[in-house]
Symmetry: C2
Subunit: 215 residues, 2 copies
């Protein structure tokens, strides 16, 4: 009974996500659903990426948070259109939330829409929102045991950004082990090592983005 | 309708948690529900705590994970009783899971039961499991903006362990800001700074534990 209900919720969400995707496609918008555990550095990475690419692409952002508008304020300071969704306790974004938020964005003036999901390594991976690709961040400070412990997000993602690599010397993070375990879960996964803080590897991530949405 | 359903689920869970609590009380067991984002260091901290206290207290552990038995294997190596719960995708432990797991523990031979929840800063805070106290970990690598962004867990916790303080020099973590924002959410919250890796502050956490369950 409970399982059936969850299945119905997911199927209903898939339909809405499909409709969102159609609307985004009509406007020629490439959509990224960005996911990670809390504090992996999504917003800092986004700030840097927007500042690096905003002269060559029209970028928009939807910010998902349980509470506060802090992240949206940080993105707004970069001068691009941003909409904040407060989920009021819900642990992930869903298709319906994105459907409502998109009305507040100038869709005809956006080429690349980045949706920053709620910080959570579990639930967001289950809910499509109408994205073209899921990009996940893993901070090296989270440890190298995450792929097998949270396999769904790693299997759903098209790209894994391993962030905060400047902290590697201060941790026991084993990069080779993580990459090997990721390949076991999702052999199509692209992996790029970055430090949003120092800028290391960010050009590779930007190249990945530019190739995908073909500026 | 959806809200009502969620309310019913939470109420049913509260009843089961209450029954669990009664069983734990009958056996004189002090129960900690340990929660954090993925990779905040719960298992490493637990390993160190068990090794430090196991000669003075009879400790048992219930390990919650989406998948794998990695954490339970690490705890088992310390020589104390441990039960693994695999939630098969569910993003939190609930009362019923603990009800089933406790049958596999020697309850009469345990004084302190530590339940390590699924790594998730959101959902576990909503589900009681029969604990006496909720202890949450925040890794400094997650950043200093978490209390206001994930208020429920901070408001539910009795103790916040701010872990990985050895990384502070390599981050822009503002300890005073975090503590101030925590107090705004939960003025009764105890806060202890630790590094499970270097051992710094661990004696304070162990003293807190020992005072609470009065060895």
């Amino acid at each position: 009974m409970k399982v059936k209900l969850v299945k119905n919720i997911l199927e209903a969400n898939d339909r809405i996500a499909e409709e969102n995707r159609k609307i985004f496609d009509e406007h020629g918008i490439f959509v990224i659903n960005m996911m990670s555990a809390p504090g992996a550095g999504k917003t800092t990475l986004l700030e840097k990426t927007i500042r690096a690419l905003k002269d060559t692409a029209r970028i928009g952002v939807i910010e998902g948070d349980i509470a506060t508008t802090r992240d949206a304020e940080r993105i707004e300071a970069t001068g691009i259109p941003v909409v904040q969704i407060n989920t009021n306790g819900a642990c992930h974004l869903d298709g319906n939330m994105i459907r409502e938020a998109m009305d507040d964005l100038p869709l005809s003036a956006i080429d690349l829409l980045i949706i920053e999901n709620v910080g959570n390594l579990v639930c967001p991976a289950e809910f499509k929102v109408g994205e073209d690709a899921k990009v996940m961040l893993l901070s090296v400070a989270e440890g190298d045991d995450k792929p097998l412990k949270y396999p769904l997000m790693f299997s759903e993602a098209s790209l894994l950004l391993i962030n905060k690599i400047d902290l590697i010397p201060h941790t026991n993070f084993n990069m080779a082990k993580v990459k090997k375990e990721c390949m076991g879960i999702n052999s199509m996964l692209d992996i790029i090592e970055v430090s949003a803080m120092t800028g290391q590897g960010m050009d590779k991530w930007h190249n990945w983005l530019q190739q995908k949405f073909a500026l």
